[in-house]
C-alpha cells in the first residue's frame, strides 16, 4: 500500500475521467496490463477498494488511470481535487506479455479497454493495430494517443456514427485476410461479452495465445479472498477451475477462457 497524491483529475471526455497519481514506487515496477487498487478518499459508507488498470506511467513517477463514472466510487473519485492523498496498492496482477519483434500486435478493446492497453501499445516493439469498439462516439477514448504511438486505429460503433457499424469483433475477419501473411498476436480488454466473443474467435482461428484481460468484481486484490474468480480451462477432472483474476490474472490467454456457459 502506497500513499500517493493526486496530481490532476480532469474530465477526459463525457463520463470518462483521467486521474494522475504521484507514486514513483509503483511506476518503477509497472508492466502493461497491471492494475492499482485504490482506496477512494471520502468514500466512507463503502469500504472496499476499486481496481483500475494502469493506463500510463512516466519517468517522473506519475501514474495515469482513465476511469468511467459508473457508480458511487467513481463518482466520488471524480470529485477529488488535486492534492488529495490516496492509498494505492500496486502494481497488481499478471501483466500482458509484450509482442515479439516478429509479431504484429492487434489490440481489440472496448469501454476503458483502450486505456488499459495503452501502455502495452506504447511499449510494443512493433507498431500494431487498435480495433476499438463502442456503443457510440462517447465511448471512443484515447484514439489520438494510440495514433500518436504509431498504431493503426480502426473503429466500430453500434450506432454507426464512427467507423464500422456493428461489433468490434466483426473487424477481425477482414483484418485476418488483409494481414494473412503476418504473424499476429491478439490482445483484448473490454466488456465481458466482447471478451467472450473474442476469445471464442481466437480459439477457433488458431490465435489461442492471444491475451485477454478479464474484469471482475474484486475485493482484496492480492489473491486472498477468492471474490474475483473466473472459470478457466484446466487439466483436471472437471476441465475447469475458478482462477483469481487479481493474482492469476487479470490477463489470461484466449485458450484458457471458458466460453461455454457462464
Amino acid at each position: 500500500m502506497i500513499t500517493g497524491e493526486i496530481v490532476s483529475n480532469t474530465i477526459l471526455k463525457d463520463s470518462y475521467y483521467k486521474v494522475e497519481f504521484f507514486v514513483p514506487e509503483i511506476c518503477a515496477e509497472t508492466q502493461p496490463g497491471q492494475f492499482v487498487h485504490v482506496k477512494i478518499a471520502n468514500l466512507r459508507d463503502r469500504i472496499l477498494r476499486r481496481p483500475f488498470s494502469i493506463s500510463d506511467i512516466n519517468e517522473n513517477g506519475i501514474l495515469t488511470v482513465i476511469y468511467k463514472v459508473v457508480g458511487e466510487g467513481t463518482e466520488v473519485l471524480a470529485g477529488l481535487p488535486a492534492g488529495t492523498v490516496c492509498d494505492l496498492m500496486g502494481p497488481l496482477g499478471k501483466p500482458f506479455s509484450l509482442p515479439r519483434e516478429n509479431e504484429l500486435p492487434v489490440i481489440v478493446a472496448g469501454g476503458y479497454g483502450s486505456a488499459a492497453t495503452y501502455l502495452l501499445a506504447k511499449r510494443s516493439p512493433v507498431k500494431g493495430i487498435l480495433l476499438l469498439g463502442a456503443r457510440s462516439e462517447a465511448d471512443l477514448i484515447l484514439t489520438d494517443k494510440f495514433a500518436a504511438a504509431g498504431f493503426d486505429v480502426r473503429l466500430a460503433t453500434q450506432d454507426g456514427s464512427h467507423g464500422h457499424k456493428g461489433l468490434v469483433t466483426e473487424l477481425i475477419p477482414p483484418l485476418l485476410k488483409e494481414k494473412s501473411g503476418q504473424k499476429i498476436r491478439f490482445y483484448g480488454c473490454g466488456p465481458t461479452p466482447m471478451l467472450m466473443a473474442l476469445s471464442k474467435m481466437l480459439q477457433k482461428n488458431g490465435f489461442g495465445d492471444g491475451e485477454v484481460s478479464l474484469d471482475h468484481l474484486m475485493c482484496c486484490g492480492v489473491g486472498a479472498c477468492f471474490a474475483c474468480v473466473v472459470k478457466i480451462k484446466t487439466d483436471n477432472e472437471d476441465g475447469w477451475r475458478y482462477a483469481r483474476t487479481c493474482k492469476e490474472g487479470p490477463v489470461f490467454t484466449a485458450d484458457e477462457v471458458y466460453t461455454d456457459g457462464e
Binding site: 500500500m1 469500504i47 468484481l217 492480492v222 489473491g223 486472498a224 471474490a227
Partner: protein, 306 residues
C-alpha cells in the same frame, strides 16, 4: 509498550490480534506486505478434505458499511494445504503462529480433516472449526444453527486431535450463548465469533440477486454492534476464552470487543480496505493501553463497567 500477550488456555499469543479466516488467504498472499510473525496468529481460509470450486460468481457485493460474500469455501483441500508451496510449508518457514480453519459437509468430514492435520501438526497452533457451513447430509441446515449438530461436530473433532480447538459460532441464531455452552461441553477450548450474518442484495436494474448464491454473509463495520453484543453474551455464559470479531477496523474497535469480554480479536473485512489493518489494530490497542495507563492488555478483558 504495554504487555500485549494474552493467554487463551493452552495457547499464549504475543498479541491478541489474528486475521479472520477467509480474509487473509493462507498468509502467502500478504507476505510482501509485512512479516507475519508480527501477528498474534494467522488464521487461514477454511480447509476441507478435498479441493473445492466454491460458488458461482458474483460472490461479493458491497453494502452500506460492509459487504456480502458467498465465496463458498473455495480451497485446495487438506493434502495440498499440507504440502503445497504456497500453504503450510510457506507458513512453517514464515515463523507465523498458524491456526487452521476447517470445515466439512458432514460430521465425518470435519473429523477427517482434523485427523489429517493432527497427523502433521507441527507448527499448527490450533484448529478453528467453522460450523457455519450447511450440512449436506441433513439437508443443508447449517451445523452452527442446530445445537445438537454443533455439539456433535466438536465432539467428533475432539476425539481425533489434541490441538487447541476453537469453535467459530454463527450469529444467525436466537441465542448464541446456548451454542457457546454446547460446544464448550463438547470439548472446545475456545469460541470465536461472529461469523457473517446472512443477508441479501438485489440489483434493481437487472432484478437479479447481487450474489449468484442468492444469499451471502454480511461482514464489516455494519455488523459490529451485533458482534459486540454476542461476544458479551457468550463471555458471560462460558468460562472458555472468547475470540471476538465482526467489523473491527481499528484498535478502538478491538478494545471495544475486549471490554465486552473477548480475550483476543480477529480482523477480517478491514484487511480488504487496508492490508496493514491488523498491524494498525495492534498499535491502536497499545496506544489505548498507554493512554489509559494499563500495563497489560489483560487488564481490559471483560472490563466493561455496568
Amino acid at each position: 509498550m504495554a504487555d500485549l500477550t494474552v493467554d487463551l488456555g493452552k495457547l499464549t499469543l504475543k498479541n491478541p490480534v489474528m486475521t479472520a479466516s477467509g480474509t487473509f488467504g493462507y498468509g502467502f498472499e500478504y507476505k510482501d506486505y509485512f512479516d507475519l510473525r508480527r501477528l498474534g496468529a494467522v488464521v487461514v481460509k477454511g480447509i476441507a478434505m478435498k479441493p473445492s470450486h466454491g460458488n458461482p460468481t458474483p460472490r461479493v457485493a458491497e453494502t452500506h458499511g460492509g459487504m456480502l460474500n458467498a465465496i463458498g469455501l473455495q480451497g485446495p483441500g487438506v493434502e495440498k494445504f499440507l504440502h503445497g508451496d504456497e500453504y503450510m510449508p510457506f507458513l512453517r518457514k514464515s515463523g507465523a503462529v498458524v491456526i487452521v480453519n476447517i470445515w466439512g459437509k458432514s460430521i465425518e468430514e470435519y473429523r477427517d480433516v482434523a485427523a489429517r492435520l493432527e497427523a502433521e501438526k507441527e507448527d499448527i497452533s490450533a484448529l478453528e472449526i467453522n460450523i457455519s457451513c450447511p450440512n449436506i447430509k441433513e439437508g443443508g441446515v447449517a451445523f452452527g444453527t442446530d445445537l445438537n449438530l454443533a455439539h456433535q461436530v466438536v465432539a467428533k473433532v475432539r476425539e481425533v486431535t489434541s490441538l487447541p480447538l476453537i469453535t467459530k459460532l454463527s450469529p444467525n441464531v436466537t441465542k448464541i450463548a446456548d451454542f457457546a455452552r454446547a460446544v464448550a461441553d463438547a470439548g472446545s477450548d475456545m469460541v470465536s465469533l461472529i461469523n457473517t450474518i446472512t443477508g441479501m442484495a438485489i440489483n434493481i436494474n437487472t432484478r437479479r440477486p447481487k450474489i449468484a448464491n442468492l444469499t451471502g454473509g454480511l461482514s464489516g463495520p455494519a455488523v459490529k454492534p451485533v458482534a459486540v453484543r454476542m461476544v458479551y453474551e457468550v463471555s458471560k455464559a462460558v468460562k472458555i476464552p472468547v475470540i471476538g470479531m465482526g467489523g473491527i477496523m481499528d484498535g478502538d474497535d478491538a478494545v471495544e470487543f475486549m471490554l465486552a469480554g473477548a480475550s483476543a480479536v480477529a480482523v477480517g473485512t478491514a484487511i480488504f480496505a487496508d492490508p496493514y489493518a491488523p498491524l494498525k489494530v495492534i498499535d491502536g490497542i497499545n496506544a489505548y493501553l498507554e493512554r489509559q495507563g494499563c500495563k497489560s492488555v489483560k487488564e481490559i478483558i471483560g472490563g466493561m463497567i455496568r
